[in-house]
Structures are given as C-alpha cells and as structure tokens.
C-alpha cells in the first residue's frame, strides 16, 4: 500500500511541479508574478479536452497522447499574445500595476474560456481508459498516472538541459540572476522575456492538459492549482527551479501520506509546513 501512496504523491507532485516551474521561470526571468497563471492551466485543459474529443473516434491511439500537447501549444500562444500586449506595457510600471494587470487578465481569460468552450464540462478520458491498469505489488494502478510521472520527468530533464547547457537557457538564467548585468552584457532582454513567458505559460497549459483524461475540464479548474503553486513557490523560493522540484515533491508526498494517516488535516497541513519553513528560512528553501 505504501508504494501506492508514494506513487499518488508523485503523480500530484508531477503536475504541481510543471505548474510551479512555469510560475518560477516567469518570476525568475521577468520578476513578474502572473496571477493569471492558473488561467493558462485552464486553457491547456480545455484545449486538450477539445482536441481529444475531435479526434478520438478517428485517430490511432498514439495520436491521442500527442494531442495533449495542443494544450501546451495554445497556452503558449495565448501567453505570447498576453506578453506582447499587456506585460510589455507593464515594464516601466511598478509592481502594483503588474499584479493588477495580471489579475485583470485572470478575470478576462476566465470569461474568454467560457465564451469559447461554453459553460459545460468537457470530458476526454480516452487516453486514461486506453492505457488500462498495471499491477504493482498486488495493487491495481492506472497506467496513465505512471505516464504522467514519466512525461514530467522527461520535461523536467529537458528543461534542466535547456537551462544548463543551451545558450538560450544560460542567457535566461543570467537574466534571472542579475538583470542589470545581463543587459550590460548585451542580452536581448525583451525577446528572452517573451520566451520565458511563453515557456512558463506553456508549462502550466501542459499540466492542465495532462490532467484532463482523469477529470473533466470545468470552469475554474485553474484556481486550486494556482494556490498550490503559490505554496510551492513560497516554500521552494522565488524563481528557483530546484525549489519548484523540491517544493512540489514535499507538498505532493505530504499530502498523499497526510490523507492516509491524518485525513482531517489536508490543506491546513500544507500551510503549516509552509509556515514552518518560512519562519526557519524566510526566503524559502532555495530562495535568494
């Protein structure tokens, strides 16, 4: 049973990791806290669901999984539009305006989703169903959850490679470490910021799309992941990619075991842990 509890925790942590990673990339490179981050999760969810519904009867199985990427893509595109229009306008302004603009975007996007996809739930569980179950130490476990964990590991690895080994990635890290210096070195902050925003929003969209086969796309689906992502950012440290990983694992596993052992406590337990970490290490585990 403990293996299952761990797997459950990893599954939750995986989705949380993708979302917080996206939030932290944007925070680190651009210094912007995107309150509409959850909306990109929702966009990814709806797009993923819609795509699967369109092709489910005609497409071969592997295409179904690839189609989840449509969530990543649309979230990235919308992120690109948002960055070019709104965020651009905010660079010269202070923090208050940035937060307010993203808050306004949150409200806007929530209704836009409703306008495009309607108010009803969208179900697209074919990818979950088709993969069936596996047996793990006497218990039955849906293979789809394992796939999500695997995909997240790959994505995490790719991002790590990107940030550490590619020129673009190193430039992004440079900006997040010291913006002024980076400008002085001649880096094109503006283009790189767009990249960061698109990547970050896309990751949230990917998380949203990955969750779709297990749950219907509903209005407001992005609100809870946003709060959890905030907790991870607070615990792991602003802008820290390592912090996102450790924070997500901490939150995911604590939640999974917490539910099994102390069911009443769930959400407050997470806040409690966040509180303890904050008092001990005010900047978060890996924050600056």
């Amino acid at each position: 049973m403990w293996v299952i509890y761990t797997l459950n925790g990893l599954y939750f942590a995986a989705l949380l990791f993708l979302t917080s990673l996206g939030l932290n990339i944007i925070l680190g490179v651009m210094g912007i806290l995107n309150l509409a981050h959850g909306s990109f999760y929702a966009i990814g969810a709806f797009m993923g669901a819609w795509t699967i519904i369109q092709i489910v009867t005609k497409a071969p199985a592997p295409l179904l999984y690839v189609s989840l990427l449509s969530g990543f893509l649309l979230a990235g595109i919308v992120g690109w539009i948002m960055e070019k229009t709104l965020i651009r306008a905010m660079y010269k302004r202070t923090l208050e305006y940035q937060l307010l603009l993203t808050f306004g975007a949150l409200l806007l996007l929530e209704d836009l989703i409703k306008m495009v996809w309607g108010g009803q739930a969208l179900y697209a569980s074919a990818p979950f169903d088709r993969l069936g179950k596996v047996e793990i130490m006497g218990s039955v476990y849906p293979a789809y959850f394992l796939l999500v964990i695997a995909i997240t590991l790959c994505v995490g690895f790719l991002i790590w490679l990107f940030m550490g080994k590619t020129r673009l990635g190193i430039m992004l890290r440079a900006i997040s470490l010291d913006r002024e210096m980076a400008t002085g070195l001649g880096l094109d902050i503006s283009r790189l910021s767009t990249l960061a925003f698109v990547l970050g929003s896309g990751l949230a969209g990917l998380a949203g799309a990955l969750v779709i086969p297990t749950t219907p796309a509903l209005l407001g689906i992005g609100m809870e992941p946003l709060i959890f992502a905030f907790i991870v950012v607070v615990v792991g440290g602003l802008g820290s990619l390592k912090g996102a990983l450790v924070g997500a694992l901490l939150v995911g596993l604590t939640r999974s075991f917490g539910i099994a052992i102390f069911p009443e406590i769930e959400l407050p337990l997470l806040f409690l842990i966040a509180g303890i970490i904050l008092v001990a290490k005010p900047q978060g585990l890996f924050g600056r």
Partner: protein
C-alpha cells in the same frame, strides 16, 4: 489644525460641503441605491487604510480580505455566541481588536519581505485564514457562513424593525459618523511625522534606515493600522449585508480591494473612497446585465491600468490642474 486655517483651505471647504450633502443622502436616494451607497462607504473605509499601506508605505497586499473577514466574523460570532451583548459599543471594539490581532500575527511574518514575496505571502496567509474559517465550520458556519442580526446602538433597540428601515435610518448616520471619523484620523496619521516617515521608507528604504527610521517596525505599524481599518470596514459591512462567509478572506476578494484602490487612485487620500463607490456599482451592474461580467470587470481593470494609472482621482486632479492653467495650486502631497 486651527479652525481659521481650515476654513481658508479650499480642500476643507470641499470636505465640509460633501459632508453636508452626505447628511441628506437618505432623502435623496431610494432604498436600494442607499444600501448600495452604504456598501461603498464601508469599502471606502477599507480603502483609506489600504491606501496607507500601498500609497504611503509602498507595500501591496493581495490578502487584505483576511482583516476584513476578521472584523466581519468578530461581529457575526458575537451574534452567535453572545447575542445578549450584541451592542454596537461592544462590537466595534471587538472587530478592531480581532483584526488587530490577525494583522499583528500576519504582519509580523510579512513585513520581513518586500515586493513580490510580500504580496505572495500576504495572499497565502489570507488563504490560510480562508481555509481555517472553512474547516472550523462548527464555530464559523464554514461555507454556509453566519447571519448578522441587527445590533443595539447606544442602548437603542431595533427589535421588530426590518433591516432596510434600519439601514436607511439610524444606521446610515452611524456609518457616516464612523466614516468621517476614520477619514479624519487617517488625514491626521498621514500628515504626522509617522506618515512622512512611511513615505520616506517607500521612496528609499536604505536612506530611511540610515537616518534612523526603524523600517520594519514602521511597516508593521502601517500594516496593523490598515488591518484595523479593514476590520472596521468589514464589521460595518456585515450589518449592511446581513450575512458573512469565508469568501471574504479569499484572495479574489482581496483583489477587489486592490482594484478599488487603483480605480480611485492611490496617490490621494480620497482616491480609494471614490474607487470603492464606483466599483460597487460597476460590479453590480455588470452582474445584472451580462453573464460575461468577469470579462467586463477584467477589461475595465486592464484599460484603467493602461490609460489611467493614477486612477479616477489622479485623472481628476490632473484635469483640475490643467483647468487652473498654471495658477499655483496647493501642494498635492497629502
């Protein structure tokens, strides 16, 4: 502030006229609009305090709903557990005390940080309170919320009086008195050395520290004062609404407080009050007229930020200055 100086000052004359008009509002507005106006007044009080933290100290809290909720729930829980002591003279201090308590605890954690971390922490803490209110449903009513009965004011009982009558009569004047008092106190705070120190901290933290201002402590003071204002607003609001729920501590509700402050403009003391009034009407009419009201509110916010960053009061002030065409006006610093 001597009376003579006040009478000569156009700003105080304006305040006096406005107050006079406000005294007659119950005779000018129908019941529904008057109740809406009262919602606006209570948020105006919240805005006054919020402005101290944002405009004068430079700290943006996306979690001020927590202190609003503290005040509102202090009232509601007294209604539940101490109905025999449900008197305004006890309720207001209780609300102030409770919101002060929560502000001190949360503020202590928050003021160690600035900017983004401050905002995100303030947000998370308000969500913690939200979760607690939800969870402790035996005490707080949880998601159902709690009903707020009509209190006695200065010994006057309103037994058998329907709420609309109470609200459009005695309560309005009580609320107006509280609002006026809050406004005057805030003016005092802002013009005091403490107020100047806050602005110094906002403009240049390091310099302020160097000239001997205890930055963190002053921030905490500002945080707590703004928290108490929010709590007072929450308590007064609870009588108008008649019902409180955990939503009051949710970060989206806090976002509305920020919205109102920006809408009105946080450069001037009066700004958030105007913003509170406008937002109250804006939200209600959007909700009443379209199912895409969130789009309307969101789009309005974005347009505001992009075109009118100093809010309505800022735009009005700029217009006023332009109209006076170069004639020297009073210093705008409040």
């Amino acid at each position: 502030m001597e009376l003579k100086r006040m009478l000569g000052n156009p700003r105080w004359v304006a305040y006096g006229i406005i107050l006079l008009v406000l005294l007659f509002v119950p005779y000018l507005l129908p019941t529904f609009d008057l109740m809406l106006f009262e919602y606006g007044l209570t948020f105006g009080i919240v805005g006054l305090g919020f402005n101290l933290l944002l405009g004068y100290t430079g700290l943006l809290s996306f979690g001020h709903g927590a202190y609003f909720a503290a005040g509102a729930y202090a009232v509601a829980m007294m209604g539940k557990y101490l109905p025999q002591a449900f008197a305004m003279e006890l309720l207001i201090p209780a609300a102030l005390l409770f919101s002060l308590l929560v502000s001190i605890i949360f503020g202590f954690l928050c003021v160690r940080h600035t900017k983004i971390f401050f905002s995100i922490l303030a947000l998370s803490l308000s969500m913690l309170l939200f979760a607690l209110i939800f969870k402790l449903y035996h005490l707080t009513g949880g998601s159902d919320g709690l009903r707020v009965p009509i209190p006695t004011i200065l010994g006057m009982s309103f037994k058998g009086v329907r709420r609309p009558l109470f609200l459009t009569g005695t309560y309005y004047y009580f609320l107006l008195a509280m609002f006026t008092l809050s406004f005057l106190i805030m003016r005092g705070i802002v013009s005091s050395p403490f107020g100047k120190a806050l602005q110094a901290i906002r403009d240049n933290e390091i310099r302020a520290e160097l000239i001997g201002i205890r930055v963190r402590r002053y921030r905490l003071y500002a945080f707590c004062i703004s928290g108490m204002y929010a709590g007072l607003g929450g308590a007064l609001w609870s009588f108008v609404n008649g019902h409180v729920t955990a939503d009051l501590s949710h970060w989206v509700f806090s976002g509305e407080i920020v919205y109102m402050t920006l809408l009105g403009g946080f450069g001037m003391l009066e700004g958030p009050v105007i913003g509170a009034m406008i937002f109250t009407y804006l939200k209600l009419y959007a909700m009443g007229n379209t199912e895409y009201w969130m789009f309307v509110i969101g789009a309005t916010l974005i347009i505001l930020v992009l075109l009118l960053p100093s809010g309505v009061s800022g735009a009005a002030a700029a217009l006023w200055t332009k109209m006076r065409k170069g004639r020297k006006t009073e210093g705008v610093s409040c």
